[in-house]
Structures are given as structure tokens and as C-alpha cells.
Symmetry: C2
Subunit: 309 residues, 2 copies
Amino acid sequence: MSFLIIAPGLKVDSWIKQLRALEPRLDLRVWPQVGDPDEIEFALTWNHPPGEFNQYKNLKCIASLGAGVDHILRDPALPASVPVTRVVEASMAQSMSEYILLSVLNYCRHLHAYHKDQSRRKWQPRVPLPAHKIRIGILGLGQLGADAARKLCHLGFQVGGWSRTSRKIPGVSTFAGNEALDNFLSQTNILICLLPLTPATEGILNLTTFAKLPAGAYVINAARGAHLVEKDLLKALETGQISGACLDVFQIEPLPEDHPFWDHPQIVVTPHISSLTYPKAVAPQIVDNYNRVKSGKAPMHVVDIERGY
Amino acid sequence: MSFLIIAPGLKVDSWIKQLRALEPRLDLRVWPQVGDPDEIEFALTWNHPPGEFNQYKNLKCIASLGAGVDHILRDPALPASVPVTRVVEASMAQSMSEYILLSVLNYCRHLHAYHKDQSRRKWQPRVPLPAHKIRIGILGLGQLGADAARKLCHLGFQVGGWSRTSRKIPGVSTFAGNEALDNFLSQTNILICLLPLTPATEGILNLTTFAKLPAGAYVINAARGAHLVEKDLLKALETGQISGACLDVFQIEPLPEDHPFWDHPQIVVTPHISSLTYPKAVAPQIVDNYNRVKSGKAPMHVVDIERGY
């Protein structure tokens, strides 16, 4: 049983190191040096070439390197019979929650503006937005969204959350399903997107959505670039319906040098660093799934392909 | 019994509004329009001219507008028999803890660097400092320090704290007294100063202190400008003993335009905004103290003048 890493453009040295440390006898291959494709039974992947998996007729598991699986499911030729797994790991929620707190406080306490003031040697105190009066709305209450909600709540913000199916989090006002979305949006001053990317959530951050927020709302997208209709954000900033945004993900990454987001005074750009996958933290669950598959068991953290996450 | 506000250079309109809302018949005077000095029995103050209080021979309480009283106690002619009070208010701890979390995350997640990258249209992900490996040390475990310690702890950081007398905070390693200071410093990657300013703490952030931290430590000062020996910070940044600093307070405020901190690449400057006194939140305890004094009772939150806070 061979283990294939297929992650074009990604440095996989530390993955190899961590996997080998846990399972020294692993028959590990790195695409495109695949050897006999019939020997491949487990694939660890990030942005594989569409159609690629059809070459491996004995493949028993397609494991995403990260929490998202949109990069796998967008392959129209994905073999329907092979389970797809994702990473579920506490350190990713930790990293994401830090990013969310940082971006929320950066906005409420005007740090971005002070950075600009500093470069002009300008001393200009600004009135902060008080946490207890700010209503934060999180789109997506999975592992990442729920952790961020709890931490923002603990810090004194009013926190609401929206998810496809009903969720309960102490101290958080939760909303479920499409019929509750407008109500959720109408109560949100800072909208945070932490949704999985699926056909149903693609482009959810658009002019129609923005129009349902109170005027002057702030937007944080730390999910996927395709959640945001980029030109709609520029329009909403122009009218003032949206007062600013902090974006970690983009339609095209790295963000093209001529993109209008770079020098927009109300947009904070970060280079897709909100939640990182640490091979050391994640390798054990990958190896565990490899061993489960090897011994004929079903892998853990299998995604629902119909649902998209 | 007259109530005097003496806060040269400060806008006091919202103080007057809040005080009057609570106590409409208050005989309120604003310095220098004092009227008969013998009628003044209560003074609300910020940065009064030294010696000023000796003119009010019936003065029964000197109330600081904020949490700090160093601006009162530094007056060498302060009447010894008049109690001095400070503000103790949850919203100040909230505001300060937000600032501390923001400055810690700004450092660990490199937001300051990303702001600079954005202005150059540069996409360059950086490896974050993981919270669970970072040891934060808070100098001062009063209301503000203890609140920040608890919140940093909840966010996953290793947190230590040092105070003059022994304190216990769940999850926080506490150190007390001068003899424990070196041990505390040797375990601190991010040193945060939240001490009251007293003769014992003035200049505590100096080369000797910095030398006891692990190499490359980070410094946050949100207490008073006089805690930091500014030239010592510049030296420690030059040698690399200190890797960076976030400063909200300065020896001279506003920070002079020609000050080297403004364009130092490793220093974040904010214009004394870490913890704000909201007249609306604080006026009730000021009026309460006024009424206590009026009815012959001792005021609340009296500071120990010997100790300095």
C-alpha cells in the first residue's frame, strides 16, 4: 500500500519528515514521481490537477492537507466512490481565532489608522468602538467559527452566528438556514466569513448581502476568496454601506500586483495567513487515517460530498 | 460645598454633562473660574498646577479623573491631610485588555509587517509565533494587569505576572517582590508594563531589565512614559536584545515630531489610547464619593500616598 503526496507548488519536505517520523516504513511517493499508479491507495493532496485521481484505480482515501476540501471537490472528474477527508485540528482553530480577534480589534481600536499616522509622525487619538456595543456576526459555526465566537464573546463583544443547520453556543445568538439569514445580517456590525466554500456559499459576500447589514458595517473574510464578489465590495465601500474590510483570501492568490485592494485606504490585506496547517500537528491524524484504511476501516473526518464539507 | 474641576488643557464638557445629569444641583466650577476658594471642598483633577491645592483650605477630597494618580502625587506641595482617590472601573480594564491583546497579536501574527507589505503591494506570508510557546510577563497585577493576564491566558498564551505583593490568578505564574523580579524576567518573551508610576517603578524598563529577558524579547508599555528609559530601548533594539516594542505612552506627550520612535522600524507608536476614561462610566463613582464626603464619610478608592497607588 503506497502513500502519495500530490500538492503541486507546495513545499512538502516537512510533511515527509513528520510522516516518516510517525511511520518510518511508509512507502511514500511525491507526485509526479508516482511509480506504479496501481500501488497508490492513499493520497494526501492540495490543489491536485483535475482528473488526476482517476489514474489510481486502487485509491481508498483522498485526504486534504487542510481544513478545506473545495480544492478537491471542484474536480469534475473526482472518483465518486473514494472517501474524501479533511483536517480537524485544534491548532487551526487557535490560529484562526487569533486572526479574527486581531482583525476585529484592529478595526475597533483603529490600529491600522495609527500605523498610517505613525508613518506621518501624526499624534491623533481616535474614539474606539466599544466592544459591548458592537454586534459581530459569524457566517459559519463549524470548528473554526464556533471557537472564534466563544473567544469574541469572552472578550465582551455581542456575538451572533449563522449556520446551515442549527447550532447552540453559550452566549452566542445563533441563526440557522436561509430563511434566518436576513435577520442575522440586520443585526451585524462586523460580518465575518468562516464558511466552507460550496456552490451554495460561493459569492455570498455580495451587494445584496451587504445591503442587508446596518450601514457602515465592516467585513472580514478569512474563508476563501471565492466567497467574496470583489467588485461588489469596492462598490459598497464607495457608497459607505461597508466602512472597511480585512481580507486574508482572494479570488486570485497571491493577490495580483495591479489589484485595487492593495492601496484601498479602507481595506486591510493579509497574505492568506489566518489559519495555518502545521505538518507536525496534523501528520498524526493523517497517519492514523492511513492505518485505518490499511486495516480495512473507514477513515475519520470524511466529508459529505453532496453538502460540500 | 463646591465641586471644582481642575484639568488644564482637557475638554471637560462631557464631564460637566455627566456630573450634572447625576446631581443637577451640584455647585460646579471649572478652574481657573474658581470663585471663593474657601467654598471648594471636592476637586476632580488631571495634571493640576503644582501647589494649587494649598489655596483650598476646606478641601476634603482630591479625585483623579483616571486610574493613575502619579499626576497628583508628583506635586511636592500636595496637602498631606487630604485623601486622594483614583478611578476603579471595569470599562478601563476592558479597554486596556483589548489594547494588550491587540498589541500581542499584532506582534505574534506580524500585522504591522503586513501593513507595510500592503503599502508596497508585497505578498509575503510570515511564520507566526505560536501562542502556546510564547511566555508573556505582565509587570503589575492590579485591576488592569490581572484582567489582561486572565484574557491572555484564555487565548492560549503562557502568562506570568509580577507584583510588589503576592497575588494569585488561576492559570498565571505569579512572582512577588524585588527578589523575584530576575526570575520573572528570565521567563518572559513579551514584557508588558502595567505598573502604577511611583518612585520605585520609574525607569523600570531600562537596559539592566532588558538584559535579564531572553534575547529578542518584545516590550509593550501601556502604563506611563516615565516607566521607560527611552534611550535604553533604542540601544537594546540596536543590539537585538529587544526585537521590537509597542508603546502607547511616552516621556513627552504628544510624542515630539522629531522623536526617533516615530520612524523606528521595530517600534509601534499609538497616541495614548490604551485605556480611556469614559465620563459616562466614571461619573457615578465620582458623584458617589462627593456625596460620601458631603455626608462626612470617607471616600472610596483612596490611594496609599506612601506606596504611590
